[in-house]
């Protein structure tokens, strides 16, 4: 366990949270009874595929959604049922980076304006221009790139800007939801290196959500495996990798193609179902 002071509650905690979507007659269960703790200084991985509930989990953690059952706590205090004003600290301290930076960056705004936006929204004062320059430099953007528009940047640069924007309010927690999944291998390595150095430099705690066990293994000290809305395995990353105890975890690991390896077909074909068969779509 990597948390520094055991007396301190986890930064983020999910307690038996459940979430459904859809109508009363056709409920769709996204999460059922999920629990997790993110401790200060920790890099926790959440691995899961489409329909696992991993994005719902992220939305619960930043209070974009509320659970039907269970509790979400930030620094030991429940965030369920709080007012917007009471959640101000959460909104400042927990920031997200998504897979598609195009969704995060307003195409009509220059890069510098996009990075300054959360500072304005959260009414964080000071020399905005200077702060934005510092942030863009911290993420390795060339000087003067603040004047550019998102479409003038490469995919890797857009993700760097999205990271700068997330770092703007000096958060304590970074939630990365498939943040490098859309990037080519070489660019992905650059962005992962950047995230690692920023986490170190700013003392961030990180929840890293991905479908890719290989990336999780590189980034995270502890991992939690989500399958059809439930946690099926949890443990130190290396241990889970070497001795996966749930067959789904084993399938996730063996399915990742390796250089010069063989394609290993997972044994249970019913993992691939159409809508109506995947976890997020139907009550089992």
């Amino acid at each position: 366990m990597t948390h520094l002071s055991p007396a301190e509650p986890p930064l983020l905690e999910v307690l038996s949270a459940s979430k459904r979507y859809g109508s009363r007659s056709h409920p769709v269960r996204a999460l059922s009874g999920v629990s997790l703790q993110l401790w200060r200084g920790e890099r926790l991985g959440v691995v899961g595929e489409s329909g696992s509930g991993k994005s719902t989990l992220a939305r619960l953690l930043v209070a974009l959604e509320m659970p039907e059952a269970g509790d979400i706590r930030f620094k030991g205090k429940s965030i369920v049922g709080r007012s917007r004003r009471e959640l101000e600290e959460l909104h400042r301290s927990v920031q997200m980076v998504f897979q598609d930076p195009f969704g995060t960056l307003d195409p009509r705004l220059r890069v510098a304006e996009s990075v300054a936006e959360p500072l304005r929204a959260l009414k964080i004062g000071g020399d905005l221009g200077r702060r934005v320059e510092e942030l863009l430099e911290a993420v390795g953007m060339p000087a003067g790139s603040g004047r550019r528009y998102p479409h003038q940047l490469s995919g890797g640069q857009r993700q760097r800007v999205a990271i700068a924007r997330a770092l703007a309010p000096s958060p304590e927690v970074l939630i990365a939801d498939e943040a490098v999944s859309a990037l080519d291998v070489a660019v992905r390595a650059q962005v992962l290196n950047l995230i690692a150095s920023l986490v170190e430099r700013f003392g961030l705690s990180m929840l890293f959500i991905s479908h890719d066990m290989a990336v999780i293994r590189h980034v995270c000290t502890r991992v939690l495996v989500l399958f059809r809305g439930e946690v099926v395995e949890e443990g130190p990353t290396e241990q889970v990798f070497r001795q996966p105890s749930h067959p789904y975890t084993a399938a996730l690991i063996s399915s990742v193609p390796t250089l010069g390896g063989r394609i290993q077909e997972p044994k249970a074909p019913d993992w691939e179902g159409g809508p109506g068969a995947t976890g997020a779509d139907q009550i089992p």
Partner: protein, 323 residues
């Protein structure tokens, strides 16, 4: 026997080259991987091969399939070959399938487009194909619409359509990139088995070296609209010669699910892939290459033989790569 020969293919837009003298060949029944990052021109190459280049792009050079020169063919003649001798599987099956048509009908139409057979015969062929791509209850699947299928199931339908007329060559452009990892493994395994059984050749285009090296016999490495290295898969992995291939392997090895994963900083390739109209003259890897010298201002030609490389100062052929 050589099935497909592409020689000195050039695709230009507004006087700028997007594909810069691409040459490659695929033998009958061979599985060849074309690897490249975004901006390498790999998708443009696929479109050129399929005769589907966007308007306004000009094409020079030669594409020969089974002895037939494809460049300069009329649209009508090209469409007779496309789907029949040359089939394609795209990344996004949702855009390749008609959302308003049941999948069975789409497969049947693909069969009847190129074969003069009765509707009943086409239907039985369609059911056969659905079974071959792994649907346990073909008749039921045939009645479904694309939106009623999962991503993996849609990709299986596309594979069925590709196989409909026993093509000599299947071109697959990032066929599994949009899929979950466990589904990707299932679809790749299916594709690999079917091309072997059907004795089709496969040209698999991907940014993922691990995927390509797991499926293909030979790998072509593309960068800046041209092939910079071509060799049997094992040689690419153990004795890469082009500095770009070496760097791509290093960065791919940084993150892996097997063996030891690198802690700390991952190996990267310095700089970024330039925009398509910003590549340097001479060698396309100039500016990012650790072995660059004055001579690299001239374009290096791809060497001949089994292991080909387009570089003035390649790594030695005795596995000197990775240094």
């Amino acid at each position: 026997m050589t099935l497909l020969t592409v020689s000195d293919l050039v695709v230009e837009a507004a006087g700028q080259q997007i594909i810069r003298g691409l040459s490659l060949s695929v033998n009958a029944g061979e599985r060849v991987g074309l690897i490249g990052e975004s901006g390498s021109g790999k998708t443009m190459a696929a479109l050129a091969l399929m005769g589907l280049l966007p308007e306004g792009l000009s094409l020079q050079g030669s594409i020969e399939l089974e002895g037939v020169e494809l460049t300069g063919l009329s649209d009508r003649r090209y469409s007779e070959i496309r789907g029949d001798r040359l089939a394609m599987i795209f990344q996004e099956p949702m855009t390749a399938l008609d959302p308003l048509m049941r999948v069975g009908r789409q497969i049947r139409d693909a069969v009847r487009l190129h074969r003069r057979i009765s509707r009943a015969e086409a239907s039985s062929r369609m059911l056969q194909l659905l079974a071959r791509v792994g649907f346990p209850n073909p008749a039921e699947q045939a009645r479904r619409f694309p939106h009623q299928l999962s991503g993996g199931q849609r990709q299986r339908v596309l594979i069925a359509i590709a196989l409909a007329c026993d093509p000599a060559l299947i071109l697959a452009d990032e066929p599994t990139t949009a899929l979950d990892v466990t589904v990707q493994a299932q679809v790749l395994s299916l594709l690999q088995r079917l091309v072997r059984e059907e004795r089709s050749a496969l040209l698999l285009i991907s940014h993922d070296l691990a995927v390509v090296s797991s499926v293909c016999d030979r790998i072509l490495v593309m960068y800046g609209g041209t092939v910079v290295e071509s060799a049997p898969t094992r040689e690419i992995l153990t004795a890469p010669r082009h500095p770009y291939t070496v760097a791509l392997l290093d960065t791919s090895r940084g993150i892996s699910a097997d063996g030891e994963t690198a802690a700390g900083q991952l190996p990267t390739i310095p700089g970024a892939v330039p925009a398509w109209d910003q590549f340097p003259c001479g060698c396309v890897f100039r500016g990012r290459c650790p072995r660059e010298q004055d001579r690299c201002r001239e374009v290096p030609r791809l060497t001949e033989g089994e292991h080909r490389v387009a570089c003035w100062f390649p790594f030695s052929s005795e596995g000197g790569g990775g240094a």
